[in-house]
């Protein structure tokens, strides 16, 4: 689990969930958080949008598509707000998504995505409108170039925090990066009255 597979570039059709402010309670309702592992959460991703109380399917797009064909989720404005549960990116990735696109992506969710190799891509309203207008389109995401290419050929550059990007591209492990700093951390504790 320690090293992420490096991500470089991939193409996929998008899946649009146009609702604004999709929060992490929608992505995975709290009652599924009693798990003690990260695996198998894809089946409860957007559970209450996809299933009736008796467990039968609702006619929701997430139940109708082939997830391997739609690896880029385009959400409405302001995606991923709410709870800090990392179960949200775990569930989205287990469902099959590799990237999330929105006009705004909430802080903690974004940080959680980057730690797991789910790429958060923030785009302008204009680009977002183009994605929503053609929800069947295929896009290419190239992390090496920080580029998102739409089906009509529009190329947009997006920003990913430099260190997180490096972790994703090179498979650098953030905990390992911190562990390497233990001697400095110990020195800091000594000089700041924080030693055990």
């Amino acid at each position: 689990m320690s090293n992420q597979e490096p991500i470089h570039s991939f193409s996929s059709r998008i899946l649009v969930l146009p609702e604004a402010n999709i929060d992490t309670d929608q992505i995975i309702p709290a009652r599924f958080l009693t798990t003690t592992t990260k695996v198998g959460l894809g089946k409860v991703a957007f559970n209450d949008w996809r299933y009736n109380a008796d467990g039968s399917d609702k006619p929701h797009i997430l139940n109708q598509i082939d997830p391997t064909e739609h690896r880029v989720l385009v959400g409405g404005n302001n995606f991923g707000c709410g709870s800090s549960r990392e179960h949200a990116p775990w569930a989205l990735m287990d469902y099959g998504f590799q990237a999330v696109i929105s006009t705004e992506i909430a802080d903690i969710f974004k940080s959680n995505c980057l730690k797991n190799g789910l790429l958060p891509v923030v785009v302008s309203k204009e680009v977002h409108d183009k994605l929503l207008a053609n929800p069947q389109q295929r896009v290419t995401i190239d992390l090496q170039q920080n580029a998102l290419t739409l089906e009509d050929g529009t190329v947009i550059t997006f920003e990913v925090e430099a260190f997180a990007r490096q972790c994703l591209l090179e498979g650098v492990d953030a905990m390992g990066w911190l562990l390497k700093r233990l001697p400095d951390i110990e020195k800091f504790e000594q000089s700041h009255g924080k030693a055990a």
């Binding site: 604004a20 309670d25 709290a30 009693t34 911190l178």
Partner: protein, 470 residues
Amino acid sequence: MTAKSLFEKVWDAHVVEPEGADKPAVLYIDLHLVHEVTSPQAFSELDARGLKVRRPDRTFATLDHSIPTLAPDADGNRPYVTAQAKKQVETLEANAANNGLRLFGYDAENRGVVHVIGPEMGLTQPGYTVVCGDSHTSTHGAFGCIAFGIGTSEVGHVLATQCLAQRKPKTMRITVDGKLQPGVTGKDVALTVIATLGFSGGTGYALEYAGDVIRELDMEGRMTVCNLSIEAGARCGMIAPDQKTIDWLRGRQYVPQGEAYDEAAKGWLALASDEGAVFDKEIRIDGSTIEPMATWGTSPDQGAAIVRGVPVAGNEDQERALKYMGFTGGEAREVEKVDVVFIGSCTNGRMADLRAAAAIMKGRKVAPGVRALVVPGSEWVRIEAEKEGLHEIFLEAGAEWRLPGCSMCIAMNGDFVLPGQLAVSTSNRNFEGRQGPGSRTVLASPATAAASAVAGHVADPRQFMALEEA
């Protein structure tokens, strides 16, 4: 010397390695709070790497999210919602034992909701950096801490190194001037701030709350304000320590005692933003115009003064929210028949909150057909409330009195609102289904929640307060 803000002072004192263009800062964490839901996978990660918790003395665990709030049966069996919830609790018990962590478990006198017990025991101290795998960690900012929620991967980072890789956020000062009207509480201030900033207006910022209204709030009210910072998307919310902070913390279990306390307090008072400190953004709110608030939609920023009624939708999102809530827009709040009232959570589950609710419920009855649940934020709150007889007021009014926990705030322990039911809750999120699939939530203060329980509909609490004064 350049003038520094409260945030900058605390941040700078915790930088182990400064940030650069290609790398985040290494930020030292003074206090790490852990609970059963967001920690198991982090401990597994440590196990997989053959690591132990590096600073068990700075790491404290509690049980709150998935635990039942009903008493165990005669054989001591607790009514867990599922076997998996029980296993989650046992996993934390095992991880704590295995790593030598202090776990405030069922037998501890201080078990409770993580953001209630931290300050209560004085684990939270001014100038600290505090993290927890829970977004409402911003609560601890009321004591002048940089306190923020982290994901499970980061929980692992802190367990292993006591540090986090972090980029410094921008700063925003929110000044609430003037004087609050009688009957207006910290929760109403917080809901007003969020409505002003909007759902994501705080994204990328560390907030500092200032102004006369904030100074006048008691520590409980300040915690409520900081608690809700995340609902505007902010990284954290802070308030400069003052004499109130120092008086409130004095003598608590984990703070320095005696002269050492006075010495520490001097340093805490010096944390306040210097005159001339520059913020990336400044906002002013006139506190005297704030009235008791209630949300009408499905995000915490969709709130308005109760007396103004439900607003008419101004855009598609608001329309969708109103539709989910079953409101048409433009109606008075009194038409909203209430099914459930929930008083509790890390937002409003403290003594001051329970007292405010009890003051309204005293000598009155919960309206027929309303289920009212009062859940103290911690064992300490439960015991104090019972000493004061608050539980009797609630029980006599027809409300349920439970054991401490997150309960209906997150609705993962078996306490939940039924599909379609309308709940007035003192918690922090009114997302679709947050309190149970199909549940509809109105966020409000403890006084408003109690008033709504008694009235049977969403009600301005001042009508009950005025009665008492007459």
